[in-house]
């Protein structure tokens, strides 16, 4: 944690994400506008003191839509990664730990899933079930575990061959203890890195889906959805496209920077 703060870029990332989470939690205190209150007399106003990010085509305040939208985007990011983690880490651990035919079957399944373009699968499932926040989270989780499963598997495989594991096996340590005390702590770092980066990419996927109209449904606002509304006015009302886009960019960037610093911290080879 100390290293994470002492590194300039990840420190900025942490601060930015902290701000986003704080504003999501304190949304009603930060803005007096209701994010879905329409005011047709205030349509498409450029940024001003009254509306710092301007208003959209229905006269809604863009700033409060972004603030309230951060609740949706962050929730989707975190829960999608938890889903990914549960599926990917479990499959990877089972595959690497048990080996044999279980490993072959699970890895062939992973290979098959890797052949499908993820975004196509997500679009497909979302379009056929109902587009909603919960479905978006589930589908992102269900389709993006393959990379994690592979990483975890190879980590388990390499840890399993190390001398201290053999030594504890000789000491007749129980399988449960062997796994939780000796193997898990040694494979946890790549998982944490994957999660940091994964939240960012889940937020990107959600915004892409909402942009195509297949993600979070109105009147709930999410960042991608504000962008989607803005694309029809891109030539006349730039603020509808620029502000939410920049917020998505900085949020994802923050998660990536944190992930990169974590990678450096965990990987002593690069520390020189």
């Amino acid at each position: 944690m100390k290293k994470l703060i002492s590194d300039n870029s990840s420190f900025l990332g942490l601060i930015f994400i902290g701000l986003i989470i704080l504003s999501a939690a304190l949304a009603p205190l930060l803005t007096s506008y209701d994010p879905s209150a329409q005011d047709l007399t205030q349509r498409l106003l450029p940024p001003s003191f009254a509306h710092i990010f301007g208003t959209d085509d229905l006269g809604r305040d863009v700033f409060s839509r972004i603030i309230y939208g951060s609740r949706v985007s962050m929730t989707v990011g975190f829960f999608a990664v938890i889903m990914t983690l549960i599926i990917g880490a479990t499959l990877g651990i089972v595959s690497g730990y048990f080996g044999g035919w279980i490993d072959s079957v699970l890895m062939r399944f992973t290979d098959i899933m890797l052949c499908f373009p993820t975004f196509f699968l997500i679009l497909l499932i979302i379009a056929f079930f109902e587009p909603s926040i919960v479905n978006v989270m589930i589908v992102i989780g269900l389709t993006s575990w393959t990379g994690l499963a592979r990483i975890v598997r190879s980590e388990v495989l390499s840890v399993r061959e190390r001398e201290f594991i053999l030594a504890s096996q000789m000491l007749a340590v129980s399988k449960k203890r062997l796994f939780f005390v000796h193997i898990l702590p040694n494979i946890i770092s790549p998982i944490i890195v994957y999660c940091a980066v994964g939240i960012g990419s889940a937020i990107l996927t959600e915004s892409g889906l909402s942009f195509l109209g297949l993600g979070v449904q109105p009147p709930t606002s999410s960042w991608g959805q504000i962008l989607s509304g803005g694309k029809d006015y891109i030539y006349s009302a730039w603020w509808l496209s620029v502000f939410p886009g920049v917020i998505i960019l900085f949020t994802v960037l923050s998660f990536n920077l944190i992930g990169e610093t974590l990678r450096d911290i965990f990987d002593p080879k690069e520390r020189v």
């Binding site: 098959i112 052949c115 196509f120 679009l123 694309k231």
Partner: protein, 323 residues
Amino acid sequence: MLSYVSRRLLYSIPIIIGITLITFFIMYWTPGKPTDVSMELNPKISAEAKERLLKLYGLDKPVYEQYWNWLRRIAVLDFGNSFKDGIPVISKIAQRLPATLLLNFLSLGFIFIGATLIGVVCAVKKGGFWDRFLTFLVFLGFSTPSFWAALILMIVFGLWLGWLPISGIVSFRFYELSTLGKVLDLTKHLILPVFVSSIASLAALSRYVRSSLMDTLKQDYIKTAYAKGLSQKDVVFGHALKNALLPLITILCLSIPGLIGGSFIIETIFSYPGMGRLGYEAIIARDYPVIMGIGIISAFLTLAGNIAADILYAVADPRIRYK
């Protein structure tokens, strides 16, 4: 070598079966039947007519029989006809595929060259200004929503500067142009889509080249090369880069599904007449045969890419073949 290739091909058989199984069952389990479209449109449809329709599509048979029949048809590339206009799916895809392949091959080339250049500069100037600056750009690229980048670039280059067209693949007056004019026109239309679809992979791969090259530069044979009195340029490009780029073959191919997946959103934004936009439109219209056809075709393209990667890798690195 031959035995390696044949082993690799044999190994892909279960994958092919898996791809077809997953495509089939996604469509089987999603709510709504393919016949719903024609049934809903006709409120007066009788019970017998409904049954006849189900029979026509073979939906009254048990699931394994449905799968088998479907498999037999797709084995000869018969994906059925589009629900929307009755045109055979395969000819719809065949019409759109070249544009998507063109976009993706150009993107792959751009990613490869761009990632190599950025990676080399970063690794050689490690810790210096250019390393930091390019790393910053790379992270920015990796974090940008591609559809947003597309919108912004469309405003800047299409509207403000007026340098590049913002939609389609050729101009209206394409067929009146000379050969050179045609090439120029096509290039102008492709610049933005290729750039936007490459950003994310370009960023990820350049990081990879950077760390791979940095590892290679620490090897003993590099010291030997320097000791022989070779210049840095000769060492990096003549000795180190070849080895550092080997794993890139695999990683480049792994980015194919991402590119194809990305083309669904990018082709839609740029109104690009490729398979991705066809797929998006089919999903919105619930055009089942088209969706299944595109799913299978994209998965097979990826698989072919993976096989090609493994074989290329084995050609480039003889150590692989004997493992």
